[in-house]
């Protein structure tokens, strides 16, 4: 196959503003990879984008069944988008199960690309189809384009050196090639990737390149595919961009925090979906002096982190709900010892094992109150994959400045999805270091005497002479830190620890209001950011007045939040839980919030929020 075939003989493509595409197939079909590569090309091309991977809880659920379907959705646009889109405009279905599981999401009239080879009796039966939907009127509402992808792939790769059934493995590259044709994406970034990953001389590398090109060429040569589309680069602010996945951004933010705090990073963690990749990313970066410790369980994860904190390291532990439960006791110890630490909770569907690979925001009240006794901690949350870098950095800053564990809340959607990130100038990141304690000769070291402003206590670490001291979980004297059973001291220490959170509050920025008016404000936190902002923007475009406030800090809440919320007639709080932030806001400000809760294991959809906004606005009007 010569390169000429790739010369574009393209009819003028239709220019569109944005498109939502979903690649869907069996877990073994490589849809995550196809989607990721399509995303990468689009990023290089200059589009704005947002992605949403979705995979089963099993490593590999039974092939060909609904339970085994894996998908990857990407939204690409020539404007500044915020969500991976509510419903795909185009669906790639590699087999009947993928079609069945995803069809209802496809917009009516949408483009449906199917791998016709997979629609045999066995697969149809596994997916629960009595008859072949390609043969009847089931798909009449869509533009269906079929291609015998398996046959074509096999044929294309026959000289690669890959043999037998293995040849079929490249069919995702065929699909990717075809999609690149239809949406006018460059294939060079994919070729580069294949080269780096496999080398273009290896059988696998060759097969993937051949399949990719074959898919692209199939588009060129097959008339059916001659209606193509293009999406112009988005007018993103100038700068250098990378496409970043949430958990990677979190890991990088933590490393950057450690660098700027001038502390070696220590992470003690136990693998758990969807948090594991933070540990994995940190383990990869030992040249930053990162010590990564895979503990025997979550208790040891936070335990080792606590030990490292005492030893003067930047201590991190990462987990998801069930693991956070196990960390509760030691977290309370870290709180009373007032040692800095960042605890990352990547929320997933609960309760119990729940829906481990899905998104949920249902650990918020647990983070707030999930410790015995009065045990207040700062809670900070991230709104988008790239935001995670900044938030992780900020969590480190708070931990070190205030000598406290900080809970950083993210979730399974942020963890695994990606967006273009304009790279910050890392050399301009602030110095967030805080010197270790020091004393004059002969002076007594008092580990619980505090900085008057931050209420942080001094941090003296083993190896420093003259400041030997003991910390423990029993109540401690307000200055010496020795065990104290004194009733008044206890009460005063409870208040002091609460006041430390207040002290932090005073230093934090006020919330900003996006929008104006006084009818309705939508209050959100975490990964619902994109959906809320999109919904609010759409409503605003109709001329209605509605505002959006999104929280980064949840404990303490921003100082102006009460006043801001009270200035609106309605406060709508959309959450992927049964109303947890809502409950906090109600208790704090006695405001009768409207909770909007959708807990489907999926990101919030802008459209549903939009509907809810109109419902409230119209009620308001009619009442």
């Amino acid at each position: 196959m010569s390169d000429e075939t790739l010369t574009d003989e393209r009819p003028v493509p239709e220019q569109i503003d944005d498109v939502v595409i979903r690649f869907a197939g069996d877990s073994g079909d490589g849809m995550q990879l196809a989607g990721t590569q399509f995303t990468a090309s689009s990023a290089m091309f200059g589009n704005d984008l947002a992605t949403l991977p979705n995979f089963p809880a099993e490593i590999r659920a039974p092939q060909g069944t609904i339970g085994g379907v894996s998908s990857f959705q990407v939204h690409i646009a020539d404007w500044d988008i915020l969500t991976p889109g509510d419903s795909p405009d185009c669906l790639v279905a590699m087999n009947p199960a993928a079609l069945k599981a995803n069809l209802s999401d496809l917009v009516k009239g949408g483009l449906l690309i199917v791998n016709t080879d997979a629609f045999d009796e066995r697969n149809l039966a596994k997916a629960g189809y009595d008859t072949n939907p390609l043969d009847n009127d089931a798909l009449d509402a869509y533009q269906v384009l079929g291609a015998p992808m398996e046959m074509l792939t096999k044929e294309a790769v026959k000289d690669s050196g890959v043999k037998g059934r293995a040849t079929l493995r490249s069919k995702n590259f065929f699909a990717l090639g075809l999609m690149s044709w239809i949406y006018t994406r460059p294939i060079e970034p994919v070729l580069d990737w294949v080269d780096k990953k496999f080398g273009t001389d290896t059988p696998v590398g060759k097969a993937n390149v051949m399949a990719l090109k074959a898919g692209y060429n199939y588009g060129i040569t097959t008339e059916a595919f001659h209606h193509t589309y293009t999406i112009q680069p988005a007018p993103l602010p100038a700068g250098e961009y990378t496409n970043v996945v949430g958990n990677t951004a979190t890991a990088w933010g933590l490393i950057a925090g450690a660098e700027q705090a001038k502390l070696p990073l220590f992470i003690g963690s136990y693998p758990i979906t969807p948090a594991t990749t933070i540990l994995e990313e940190l383990a990869r970066n030992k040249n930053f002096g990162v010590k990564s410790f895979q503990a025997e369980d979550e208790i040891a994860g936070i335990g080792t982190a606590l030990g490292a904190a005492f030893a003067g390291r930047l201590a991190i532990t990462t987990t998801s709900g069930p693991g956070l439960a196990l960390k509760s006791e030691t977290l309370s110890l870290a709180m009373i010892m007032e040692l800095p630490m960042v605890v990352v909770d990547v929320q997933r569907g609960g309760p119990s094992t729940g829906l481990p690979t899905k998104v949920e925001q249902s650990d918020l009240l647990f983070a707030m109150y999930g410790r015995h006794g009065e045990s207040p901690l700062p809670i900070i949350s991230t709104s988008t994959p790239s935001d995670a870098f900044e938030v992780a950095f900020e969590a480190v800053r708070i931990a070190v400045t205030y000598m406290t564990p900080v809970i950083l809340m993210t979730d399974g959607y942020i963890a695994t999805s990606s967006e273009p990130w304009r790279l910050p100038d890392v050399s301009a990141l602030p110095d967030i270091s805080r010197p270790f304690a020091s004393i004059q000769d002969g002076e007594e070291f008092l580990p619980y005497v505090r900085d008057p402003e931050t209420l942080a206590r001094p941090w003296a670490i083993p190896g420093q002479a003259g400041m030997e001291h003991r910390l423990g979980g029993l109540e401690k004297d307000a200055t010496t830190g020795n065990v104290s059973y004194d009733p008044d001291n206890h009460e005063s220490m409870l208040h002091t620890r609460a006041r430390k959170i207040e002290a932090l509050g005073k230093s934090l920025p006020e919330v900003e209001i996006f929008g104006e008016g006084s009818d309705l404000v939508v209050l959100g936190w975490g990964s619902t950011y994109g959906a809320i902002r999109t919904a609010v923007t759409r409503v605003q475009k109709t001329g209605r007045k509605v505002a959006h406030v999104h929280l980064r800090y949840i404990n303490p809440l921003p100082s102006n939040l009460g006043a801001v919320l009270s200035s609106f007639d309605n406060v709508l709080v959309p959450e992927i839980n049964l109303g947890q932030l809502s409950r906090i806001v109600r208790a704090e400000y006695l405001i009768d919030t409207h909770s909007f809760n959708r807990v489907l294991g999926q990101p919030m959809r802008a459209r549903e929020i939009e509907t809810k906004i109109y419902e409230l606005l119209d009620q308001e009007v009619s009442s």
Binding site: F293, I299, A300, G303, P462, G463, E468, R470
Partner: protein, 337 residues
């Protein structure tokens, strides 16, 4: 141990009142540890004592070093964090039979298998002292306590066997009353690289008095303390009339005269294979009858803390020190102008 000691015992004492019951075995262990540290040429500020919860776990408050009194059972994990974060420190774990073997059993066995650079001292009084006398994982079957009013039906752990089954590279046992032997064991553990476990039979005179009578009573102790010493044949008794042989059925006590001196097992604490150390640990099922005291195993294995540092050095040598600006570009970038 140096003879121009930089420290005296009092350098390791704190101003906190020692809050154990009068007569508790914990006092003698505290004194032994303080005296021992004073003989070392290790800066005081480099010692860290980490404990869980229990009577024994109050220990760090009485040591004028860095210290943590943590939560029940988690000391080995927390100490692992300290020791791997900074392998220059000398990290001691103080735990009890409840703290270390009941709630904390998992962290203990993992610290041992990983060979984390820790010196773990387990105060085994075969009872929960602090919670006022419930049976522990080392209490004998049939023991009557408040939670086992008809006698415990739990078969106890043998801490030495458990440690050896957990790949421990250093395991020893001593008894609170024998200060010199305690110090000898502490010294050997301190010199050993990586994780060490020292089990100390410790008398709780309030809730489990005289549990170790076989080993401490004047009349019985000589015939019940089996001293095991590296490189020496294992004999004991007032006149070394007893000895230990090891064969295809395990280890057992014999009369030396009958068995013949050349058949007496010569102890090799440094044997790479822990099988014989394990066999020795089975000579008694607790501090009843002839019971081995001394170092069961002492082999060289690189410590976890240093292995971790080595990987960092290697990574830096291979990739150069980390650069943030490079890292965030590592997944490919594009420019928008």
């Amino acid at each position: 141990m140096t003879d121009t000691a930089r420290y005296t015992r009092s350098d390791f004492q704190t101003d906190q009142e020692v809050r154990w019951c009068p007569g508790c075995g914990d006092y003698t262990i505290l004194a032994a540890v303080q005296s021992f540290l004073a003989t070392l040429d290790v800066d005081r500020e480099k010692h860290v004592f980490v404990s869980g919860i229990g009577c024994s776990s109050r220990f760090p408050y009485y040591m004028n070093t860095y210290g943590l009194h943590t939560v029940h059972g988690r000391a080995p994990a927390i100490a692992t964090g300290i020791a791997t974060a900074n392998p220059e420190l000398t990290v001691w774990v103080i735990t009890g039979d409840g703290d270390g073997l009941s709630i904390g059993g998992n962290h203990l066995i993992h610290a041992l298998r990983r060979n984390v650079n820790l010196n773990i001292i387990m105060f085994n009084n075969q009872i929960y002292g602090l919670t006022k006398g419930q049976y522990s994982p080392t209490s004998e079957v049939g023991k009557r306590t408040k939670t086992s009013p008809m006698g415990s039906i739990d078969r106890p752990f043998n801490p030495v066997s458990l440690a050896l089954g957990s790949e421990a590279s250093f395991v020893a046992r001593t008894i609170d009353m024998d200060r010199n032997h305690t110090i000898e064991m502490l010294d050997a553990m301190f010199k050993h690289e990586g994780a060490g476990l020292l089990e100390i039979y410790q008398n709780c005179n309030v809730f489990n008095d005289k549990a170790f009578l076989d080993l401490t009573d004047k009349n019985s102790r000589d015939s019940n303390r089996i001293w095991i010493r590296d490189g020496e044949p294992i004999t004991f008794g007032a006149d070394n009339e007893y000895g230990v042989v090891v064969d295809g059925e395990g280890a057992r006590v014999v009369e030396v005269a009958k068995a013949g001196h050349r058949n007496i097992h010569v102890h090799d604490a440094g044997a790479p294979n822990p099988a014989i150390a394990f066999a020795l640990s089975r000579l008694s099922y607790g501090p009843y009858g002839p019971t081995p005291l001394g170092i069961f195993r002492n082999v060289d294995v690189p410590s976890y803390g240093h292995e971790m540092e080595n990987q960092i050095a290697e990574a830096q040598a291979a990739k150069g020190p980390g650069e943030m600006a490079k890292l965030i570009r590592s997944r490919g970038t594009w420019i928008v102008d």
